[in-house]
């Protein structure tokens, strides 16, 4: 049963990942440039992109190290940003097949973007799309990082290129399809709200993140925003 969802396969996953890969490639370049500038050397950022493979966490670790933070602080910041992969992994788990190594490979190639592309709605995920999209994004992230550390300072300032705004735009484009729902109202703590659970969870998640931003270290607001999904506790999907 696992993995039998629909006709979408590796080709679809790879094709669907291309627009995102272009953005990830640019993001990878800016990561390589930044990591080099904070003294991580050229080799360590490339190894980190291959293994950790999580942009926001790698940026967080680099900025903590650049600010003179300890290894423990950098690791904690990065892992807190990546804590969201625990629930994301749980969502795809039932749809994966095969043994330990196959599951580990799918898990490694699961990032926000490949996870979103592989989502088929109603809590279904397509493992072939996840793998292919994840691979495409991994190649883009690695290539970008290598170019970033190789050319370093020769490239322009990422913020003058507007790359920092490309990312929320990308996440917004990923969010919109996930808001589709047949439900028209949500009951939250006994109150009826005239919007779908997806929309309520999104608004609540954004609000939690913004409220916590001034008071908590980077990464914590995003983890806490995940708690907005608890409004689904009383719901049948």
């Amino acid at each position: 049963m696992a993995g039998s969802a629909g006709e979408r396969g590796y080709r679809y996953g790879l094709t669907a990942s291309i627009p995102l890969s272009v953005a990830v490639f640019g993001f990878g370049i800016s990561y390589g440039v930044l990591a080099l500038s904070v003294g991580m050397g050229a080799f360590a950022p490339v190894v980190m992109s291959a293994t950790t493979f999580a942009g926001s966490a790698q940026f967080a670790a680099a900025s903590v190290l650049g600010a003179g933070g300890s290894a423990a602080t950098a690791i904690l910041a990065a892992l807190m940003l990546n804590a969201r992969y625990l629930p994301l992994g749980i969502t795809v788990a039932p749809w994966l097949e095969g043994g330990f190594w196959n599951r580990l490979l799918h898990a490694q190639l699961m990032v926000d973007e490949s996870w979103a592309i592989a989502a088929e709605g109603q809590g279904r995920w397509n493992p072939r799309v996840l793998l292919a999209a994840g691979f495409g994004i991994w190649v883009a992230w690695m290539t970008g990082t290598v170019i970033g550390v190789l050319f370093g300072d020769a490239l322009g300032d990422p913020s003058s290129l507007g790359l920092d705004a490309a990312f929320p735009a990308l996440f917004l484009a990923l969010l919109v399809p996930q808001l589709k729902s047949e439900e028209r109202e949500t009951s939250v703590a006994g109150l009826r709200v005239g919007a779908s659970p997806q929309v309520v969870a999104a608004l609540l998640g954004a609000a939690i993140a913004l409220i916590l931003t001034p008071f908590t270290p980077a990464g914590v607001p995003i983890i806490c925003a995940g708690a907005a999904c608890l409004i689904g506790l009383g719901r049948r999907s």
Partner: protein, 112 residues
């Protein structure tokens, strides 16, 4: 003889790279490896289908408005607003991302 501080920094960097790499894979793989092919309990799946909207919306909000621990309104807001219009017009994701970057870069260039 290499100078000590530099050596210490290099060690710190590699500790971060290795531990973060292992920790991240553990977080990613915990569900797939431990849960196996079993479906989620219905009660839980009602919750996990909402994880995506909640986290993606948080990433949008933080990416648009946060600058470190401060909330600021700057060129990114116009860039993301332009992206929202592009999404509304059913533009491909690549166009959405380019519109956001171009508008943001343009506003920054105009503002000096």
């Amino acid at each position: 003889m290499p100078d000590r501080p530099r050596e210490a920094i290099v060690t710190t960097v590699w500790i971060v790279v290795i531990v973060t790499g292992i920790g991240t894979l553990a977080l990613k793989a915990a569900g797939p490896v431990a849960l196996g092919g079993r479906p989620l309990p219905e009660r839980l799946s009602g919750v996990v289908t909402l994880v995506g909207p909640a986290l993606l919306a948080a990433l949008v909000a933080i990416g648009t408005l946060a600058d470190g621990q401060r909330l600021v309104i700057d060129a990114r807001v116009l860039g993301v607003a332009a992206a929202a219009v592009a999404i509304r017009l059913r533009a491909p994701v690549l166009v959405v991302v380019i519109v956001a970057a171009a508008v943001t870069a343009g506003v920054r260039a105009l503002a000096g």
